[in-house]
């Protein structure tokens, strides 16, 4: 028996989840039916997917119970949802709003009791008209008892301006569930990690970084945070402090605009500086977040520079 989007379906002997749904006239996205194309990616919110159905998935997907419907003959009850379906919303409370720099707000929300997430994932925040925008989590579960977001206030940005102008401490706010596969997986503690982000792309990287340090990651961790001007950097002191405390961690703030720079700042775009610095990304784990053009271009150039596709997580922001 499986449950899919709230309804129960019984399986025939040796029937896959995908075949069962198709037989019942449900058509989730699918293509090759051979476990190759990953079009029929699904997630179990209850029950454990078979290992056959997780072959070829990223470690981060496996740890979140993602599986391929065409390759899964369940051996127990499974409650199944499509990835990114917004099945769950919670109402929570605003704990704190602070200014991180001229255009970035730090929003802290109470973590709802049943809310589970991994550092580096993102959440949709809804305004009072039900319009939602996705924001990355900067907090770390277990360490921070709140949910933290870095909100870039964009001119005419519907949700970001609503947060800036209309939201205050103790207000109620609606959020979706945490999704996204750009998370830290401690399957290889010795792997070198490059965290490359622009603007508020720092938020998920900050969560991933602190998770890696918490799990006593042994490999090098290099954070390249890019910004147009030094005034738009943020969390510099906290990051420099972490770098001082952990010899394996290096913080490299990068400024792409023309301005005289103190020694602590590097001139150039974060992705260019990282490529020049690391050169060969073979065996590196890479996280890319922020400006969509930067993320897309870097994904390709870093893959060509030797990183395995499995080891690149890309999180392009629509407005960053």
């Amino acid at each position: 028996m499986i449950k899919y989007e709230g309804r129960n379906y019984s399986l025939d002997q040796n029937e896959t989840v995908l075949d069962c749904l198709l037989r019942h006239g449900i058509a989730p996205p699918y293509s090759c039916k051979s476990g190759l194309c990953h079009t029929c990616l699904m997630r179990a919110t209850q029950g454990t997917p078979t290992s056959d159905s997780q072959k070829g998935l990223k470690q981060s997907q496996i740890s979140q119970n993602y599986f391929l419907g065409c390759a899964c003959v369940p051996n127990e009850f499974m409650d199944i949802t499509l990835p990114n379906s917004e099945a769950f919303r919670s109402i929570t409370t605003v704990l704190n709003i602070a200014q991180l720099n001229d255009s970035v707000l730090r929003l802290r929300l109470k973590k709802p009791d049943n809310f589970n997430y991994f550092a580096g994932q993102y959440v949709t925040i809804y305004n009072n008209n039900g319009i939602g925008r996705s924001y990355s989590l900067a907090s770390v579960p277990g360490t921070d008892d709140f949910l933290e977001f870095h909100i870039q206030v964009i001119p005419n940005g519907t949700v970001s301006n609503w947060i800036k102008q209309a939201v205050s401490v103790d207000d109620s706010i609606t959020i979706g569930e945490a999704i996204g596969s750009g998370i830290y997986t401690n399957d290889n503690l010795k792997q070198s990690i490059a965290l490359i982000g622009t603007g508020t792309g720092l938020a998920p990287l900050y969560g991933i970084l602190r998770t890696a340090l918490l799990k006593q990651h042994k490999g090098d961790i290099r954070l390249y945070h890019g910004s147009r001007s030094s005034a738009n950097l943020y969390l510099q002191d906290a990051l420099q402090q972490l770098a001082n405390e952990h010899s394996a961690f290096t913080y490299i703030p990068c400024i792409s605009g023309a301005e005289p720079l103190p020694e602590a700042l590097t001139a150039g775009r974060a992705n260019d500086v990282a490529l020049k610095d690391i050169v060969n990304f073979k065996k590196w784990r890479v996280y890319l977040c922020g400006n969509a053009d930067m993320v897309k271009a870097s994904k390709r150039s870093i893959f060509l520079a030797g990183a395995s596709m499995q080891d690149i997580s890309a999180d392009p922001f629509a407005h960053a």
């Binding site: 893959f303 060509l304 596709m309």
Partner: protein, 122 residues
Amino acid sequence: MSDNLYEQIGGETAVNAAVDIFYRKVLADDRINQFFDGVDMEQQAAKQKGFLTFAFGGPNNYTGKDMRDGHAHLVARGLNDSHFDAVMENLGNTLKELNVPDELIGRAAAIAESVRDDVLGR
């Protein structure tokens, strides 16, 4: 030794090892990389994996019609024999890099070659 090409090449493990190398060669190849501009890299890598599994004689459900439909938009953009040749060359070099014996490379190449007309819409 088994006569099954897929097992002899090394099965799924070989496909996983080959997919990064093959896709990197294709993306770095100026003769064909314009066809990959703007595509989602993860979806593309999954497709490359499907193609390699097919060429290695592994389990797949690909049909001539899939090959035609999947490449029709590229044929419209000028995909021709020279591009197919370039892909074949990258496939061969990938397998060489993985130290696959020449005899097996030849058999994989023959399988890949069998879809040329479908891919090019003929």
